[in-house]
Symmetry: C2
Subunit: 418 residues, 2 copies
């Protein structure tokens, strides 16, 4: 069997299994996830042995220590993976929810009911725990899932999915509902992206180059975000203590992630008082500041920002700062340079807070809060399968509901159309 | 300027105008639509003159009478077009609706707010009234719209959009928010489908070949349906009078549309009593019946159905009929041959009604009602911009809400992440 044939078979099996997945009750799905958690813990030694093969190969390839750490499993990490499955089991089941129902003049009762999307493909990089996490969310939402992890983790991923599939088979659920693509080169990804007959949605998780590769080659709809150029706007009336806390938290709590602050906008009227203060505190925390001319008037030691800096996702302790004339210019800047990810205003002005909420159309728009809250768990979705900066289907952090769609249901009593 | 440059400019202008569109209040949008309606009526003679040019060219090309009729405008049709705009003005504005809001343990108030998608491209065929209808729905939902109608209607479409743009300019709204692609060949469509930087969604409306062409070439997400192979399943316990009414209405009220019945499934236990009756009444109405062997046992004069008939969208007074062993086989048939459009069960059995609603995952699933209700207006959406048989973003008939997305909004008081 060629790679193409094998992947087509995996995809067709996933489609066939998706009908059985869609019919499972919440109780059946939850029991499945809890049993999967137990099985992962029971088979720790097998998982560690398979993971050791990946680690050995990675070391031979001279992979970085950081990468090796992301690849490594141990008892504690396997326990966390199992607990993750139990947490997904505990989440409410979105499938079957009737989100609205109304009555038509002819007596028809019309509603919208949540149903699974069908078959979801996840393409990701090094961490093997994503295999269990992503599978759990897709299955909980009644979908089949096809996973294609990083080539470095192939033995770990096949071992994890093998354990999960064993549990499914014991429960009488077709194991085709959960597959790992067992090919480590790009051809495996390319063949997967051609299966639009069987796969409903692709979610790529990883660096911008992986995501661009997926978008470029996919015949299947892709939900993705390329980058997070997140903004905080400090309004003239901002409470400077709050502003300082929010900026420090947004920039430094975890600078390497997509919801970290990248560009700070400061109202001209606040500049004289706020610029020296924020420059001093951020510099003290090791943040490199690149300011525009107006910023540097009050913080001459700051580096000079270039036009490119406004587009940049630094993912590091670097911050671009610009002084703006007011809310209009702040919104213009965000529309022009932003990535539709996350923006926050710090203000005491009611009208400006409401205008910012209404007029800034990024996936997450906050008032007086850290950009770091732009996360499925932090926002209360219970989990996060990814984040979308494109507006179709899902926008912003994605939870279980984003792995479903709604159909129309109609209860009649013999009605026909006039 | 080349065609490519011109279309890129149209798309870029639409994107730029979309920010202004998104900020308009409901009152401003409604006033705009009402003014547009008045302007179309006032300029009837201009519209008729431009339409006459299209009609003349079409006649020279030897176009069919049916096509000429679809192309033709007259005072009454212009009046209907204007009334259509007034009806859209009267619909509730989806933009700004907060669909849900909840409080997090740290006090953050998190909600989801409806916002416009941005820029929507509509690609359609002959009828010039679609130009006004589709534009109105896109604008009402706060979007910019780019229209590419059939080449036969180009003068009518340019005239209609010109009148609507004049009204926008008078109201101080950038006219780039509404454009007609003025090129009549396929290159115009192809260039439009490349503008993924500026256009968020393409909705093609027309025959299957147009839609396949658009899907094949689009870099922009497309929401579409290829065909409607709609089913009615007559259960063993069906009320035969209701079943007969529903089948007649579904099949014959308007056989050429996508929500017309194409395949009838009959429970084996109902076959002996129901088959002769439904065969006789449908034959009397001029419907050609193609039955399987079990059907023909009780209606030997029926033609024989082939395997291809189960996939067929006849769009005519032709019906495929099959006798099935029960609900399971009916659902299997629908999953295998269906088009995810619309399915109805006729039954008196509570359990089977609920199972059909739960387990059949087409865009519209009905109990004891005609498939002809699968329509945005009939279901109560107030309007219909299209219909989707793919599950991402929208599924089933699409109304104003489907031209929006939701962003997260967060009201804080200085919260930062632990």
């Amino acid at each position: 069997m060629t790679v193409a044939d094998k992947i087509r078979t995996i995809a067709a099996d996933a489609r066939a299994a998706s009908y059985a997945m869609a019919r499972l009750s919440s109780a059946e799905k939850n029991a499945l996830l809890v049993d999967m958690a137990g099985a992962l813990e029971e088979r720790t030694s097998h998982l560690l042995a398979e993971n050791a093969r990946d680690l050995e190969a990675a070391e031979k390839k001279g992979i970085s220590t950081a990468m090796l750490d992301r690849l490594m499993l141990n008892g504690e990490r396997i326990g966390s993976m199992a607990d993750g499955l139990r947490e997904v089991a505990a989440l409410p089941d979105p499938v079957g929810e009737v989100t609205r129902m109304w009555k038509r003049p002819n007596g028809l009762m019309v509603g919208k009911m949540r149903i699974p999307l069908g078959v979801i493909g996840i393409i990701y990089e090094a961490r093997p725990n994503v295999t269990a996490d992503a599978a759990a969310l897709c299955l909980k939402a009644g979908n089949s899932v096809i996973l294609r992890g990083g080539s470095e983790a192939i033995n770990s991923n096949v071992a994890i999915s093998g354990i999960l599939r064993d549990v499914m088979e014991k429960a009488g659920i077709p194991a085709g509902a959960l597959s790992v693509i067992p090919f480590v080169d790009r051809q495996g990804v390319l063949e997967m992206l051609k299966q639009d007959e069987f796969i409903d949605l692709i979610i790529p998780r990883g660096g911008e180059s992986l995501i661009r590769f997926v978008v470029e080659h996919s015949k299947i709809p892709v939900i993705k975000h390329y980058k997070g150029v997140c903004h905080v706007f400090v309004d003239a009336t901002a409470d400077f203590d709050k502003a300082e806390n929010i900026i420090i938290n947004s920039k430094t709590q975890r600078p390497g992630v997509c919801n970290a602050l990248e560009t700070l906008l400061i109202h001209r009227e606040a500049a004289e008082r706020f610029v020296p203060r924020i420059f001093s505190v951020l510099s003290g925390l090791g943040v490199e500041i690149r300011g525009d001319e107006a910023f540097r008037r009050f913080a001459p030691e700051a580096k000079t920002a270039t036009e490119e800096d406004w587009y940049e996702e630094f993912l590091d302790l670097v911050l671009a700062v610009r002084v703006v004339d007011g809310l209009d210019e702040a919104i213009e800047h965000i529309n022009r340079y932003g990535s539709l990810h996350t923006e926050s205003i710090v203000t005491s002005d009611y009208g400006n807070a409401q205008r910012f909420i209404r007029e800034v159309n990024s996936g997450v728009v906050l008032v007086n809060a850290s950009t770091r809250f732009s996360d499925g768990n932090q926002l209360g979705l219970g989990a996060e399968i990814g984040i979308s900066t494109t507006k179709l289907h899902s926008y912003g952090p994605m939870g279980l509901e984003d792995l479903t769609t709604t159909k129309f249901i109609v209860y009649g009593e013999g009605q026909v159309r006039e």
